[in-house]
């Protein structure tokens, strides 16, 4: 459960977030969409605790992302904007490292890694070093290390960016599975079709503001459009002409 209220963030002269408010509920997939530079990544970065808002508040399961950083960190699994790997560590060592940083260990951790690798299809390269992994392989390992501690909330920044159709579909399936376990998924993307296809609710960001939110049908109705892309352009261009 993610609750965002009046978040503002400025970098020198650029206002990245201008008082955004939205919520992402448990058992739902919330899609954060907006054109490049709308503030999606900044919003996520504040939620996953690597940035502090200038004002406003973000809470995850009721914990404040600034004052209760570690409580928040225990409850989120994140695919951040940058998701580099350690070229000299194997896939298994990556996930094990993150598990240990979450206080896991021993047989329980090994079992969890095996289970994740089986479901994500990492088994073939589980003990290979990350140097030379394909994009799809790295993405699977990044997701595995985000999920190792079974977080209640999943935050994904452009999770399918750069992946082929097959890998994208696998990621979508993973996101749905997570939702079906009653967890909260918030992901951002700039591709309208993707967001529309898997989100239960959509939050549209433009120029650091939330310009629309609701289900796909609601948004189509509000704009009077039938085509997703036209609807998206209608909403965001209206914002830009402000």
């Amino acid at each position: 459960m993610i609750d965002v209220q009046g978040l503002r963030k400025t970098f020198k002269t650029v206002t990245a977030l201008d008082g955004i408010e939205f919520e992402a509920r448990d058992g739902e997939i919330t899609g954060l969409i907006g054109p490049n530079g709308a503030g999606k990544t900044t919003a996520l970065r504040i939620l996953y605790t690597v940035m502090r808002p200038d004002s406003g508040q973000a809470r995850i399961d009721g914990f404040d992302t600034v004052t209760q950083r570690q409580e928040v960190q225990r409850r989120i699994g994140v695919l951040p904007d940058t998701r580099g790997m350690y070229p000299r560590l194997t896939a298994r060592e990556h996930v094990r490292y993150y598990g240990r940083l979450h206080g896991m260990g021993g047989k329980a951790l090994e079992n969890r890694v095996d289970e994740l690798f089986a479901s994500l299809g990492v088994d073939d390269f589980a003990d290979r070093r990350a140097k030379g992994f394909s994009k799809g392989q790295s993405r699977k390992v990044s997701l595995a290390r985000a999920l190792v501690h079974e977080p209640q909330n999943l935050l994904l920044d452009e999770p399918t960016n750069g992946l082929d159709v097959g890998s994208s579909r696998a990621v979508h399936q993973l996101i749905r599975d997570w939702r079906d376990k009653g967890r909260c998924v918030l992901f951002c993307s700039h591709i309208m079709q993707e967001v529309a296809a898997i989100s239960d609710r959509i939050v549209v960001l433009s120029l650091g503001r939330v310009v629309a939110q609701g289900t796909v049908d609601e948004l189509l109705r509000q704009t009077g459009e039938t085509d997703l892309e036209n609807m998206f352009l209608a909403i965001t261009q209206r914002a830009e002409s402000w």
């Binding site: 350690y86 000299r88 940083l101 979450h102 985000a146």
Partner: protein
């Protein structure tokens, strides 16, 4: 918290022990100094031993013109050999170290009781040449005085009137061996290596981690940022410690094989106890070194930038030691307050076997430890900053 710090530490140690470059810096670089010094010592020892202990031959041109001098030399166990006509070329080419030339007409002037000129040809730009020149000057001086004494005596004057001073120099160096000067090279080499040993880790785990993009996901784990920093710091400190230990052992091996010569026993320079004491005294400095590395690697924008600055860094603390090789100073208490300088002085005392004052060592260790803690605190503060993931 400490368990998670250990998790970070263990990961960085494992990760970097798979890295050729980290291992090179920690295990191979430290051997360079001792090897170089070993070569220099054996070269010097050889020169000194040959010239002082073996029977000496002296090439002389025109020996037939000065039978008195030849007799004098042979009386001192020196064998006179003929020299080639072009003496200067022979010395310049290094074929001969030094040659004495008796020019034409020497015999007539000498026997007439006049001042006769002789030439000593030598090359003072190489060490054996310099040593040979010194010995030659001493021999000729003595011969001069002998002849002079005989001539004065023939006139019926007491020689002591003309010799108010009798100069005897007493050298207090242990063994009085020129090779000992090379021991002064040990402290700067150790300090340089100490600032080098963990540098690759410091860069790889901070600016390297940021550049790979693995820092952002790492920061999302439920570990305090100072904890992450400390785990990485300890890993770099371990590699620094390994580099210092490797170098100390290499020095010991080198000195042991140099053995004892010219009255100075190199084998005794590094006893096991001295090695441990040196390690203990330099440990706080290692903490300072890694602290500085972490701060620089954290505020620089990229791996390359960090590498540029940190590649130059070891030269700065090694510099005072380099100066001390040529201009030694007497250690004083206030000097013990200065990290790197105090260790340079203490290392010098250890290496030369001068005996280290315990309070001095204590002041040095305490002041460096305080400096290290301040640096660690600053590094931890830098880790708290939001733009850590982007670089300054």
């Amino acid at each position: 918290m400490w368990r998670r710090i250990f998790v970070v530490f263990a990961k960085e140690v494992m990760d970097n022990s798979r890295d050729r470059r980290s291992l090179l810096v920690a295990l191979i670089y430290p051997l360079m100094g001792p090897l170089l010094l070993g070569l220099m010592i054996s070269a010097v020892v050889e020169v000194v031993t040959v010239k002082t202990e073996a029977r000496v031959t002296l090439p002389v041109l025109g020996a037939e013109r000065a039978p008195e001098f030849v007799a004098y030399l042979e009386g001192r166990g020196i064998t006179v050999t003929p020299a080639p006509e072009d003496t200067e070329a022979a010395v310049r080419d290094g074929e001969l170290q030094t040659v004495v030339v008796f020019p034409e007409g020497f015999g007539e002037l000498f026997r007439a009781g006049k001042t006769a000129t002789i030439h000593v040809v030598s090359d003072s730009s190489n060490l054996p040449g310099l040593i040979a020149l010194n010995r030659m000057a001493a021999l000729l001086g003595e011969f001069n005085r002998q002849v002079w004494g005989q001539r004065i005596k023939a006139l019926g004057v007491d020689i002591q009137i003309l010799r108010p001073l009798m100069i005897k120099s007493i050298d207090v160096t242990k063994g009085g061996n020129i090779a000992q000067i090379l021991l002064f090279m040990v402290p700067p080499l150790l300090i340089f290596n100490l600032f080098m040993g963990g540098v690759y880790l410091a860069i790889d785990t901070t600016s390297g981690e940021r550049e790979r993009g693995s820092l952002e996901p790492l920061l999302i784990n439920p570990v305090e940022r100072w904890g992450l920093m400390l785990g990485k710091y300890l890993a770099a400190l371990l590699f620094t410690g390994i580099a210092v230990a490797v170098q100390l052992i290499a020095f010991k091996v080198v000195f042991q094989s140099a053995g004892g010569s010219g009255g100075f026993n190199f084998a005794e320079v590094f006893s096991a106890v001295t090695l441990l004491a040196i390690f203990a005294v330099t440990l706080p400095l290692m903490m300072v070194a890694v602290g500085v590395q972490f701060i620089i690697a954290t505020v620089t924008r990229s791996f390359k930038e960090a590498q540029t600055y940190l590649g130059l860094l070891p030269l700065v603390p090694a510099l005072p030691g380099m100066v001390l090789v040529f201009a030694p100073v007497k250690a004083q208490e206030w000097m013990m307050m200065i990290p790197t300088f105090s260790q340079t002085l203490l290392l010098g005392q250890f290496v030369r076997g001068d005996g280290v004052a315990f309070p001095d060592a204590l002041i040095s260790m305490a002041s460096s430890m305080i400096a290290a803690l301040v640096l660690i605190f600053i590094a931890a503060r830098l880790y708290e900053r939001e733009n850590l993931i982007f670089g300054e």
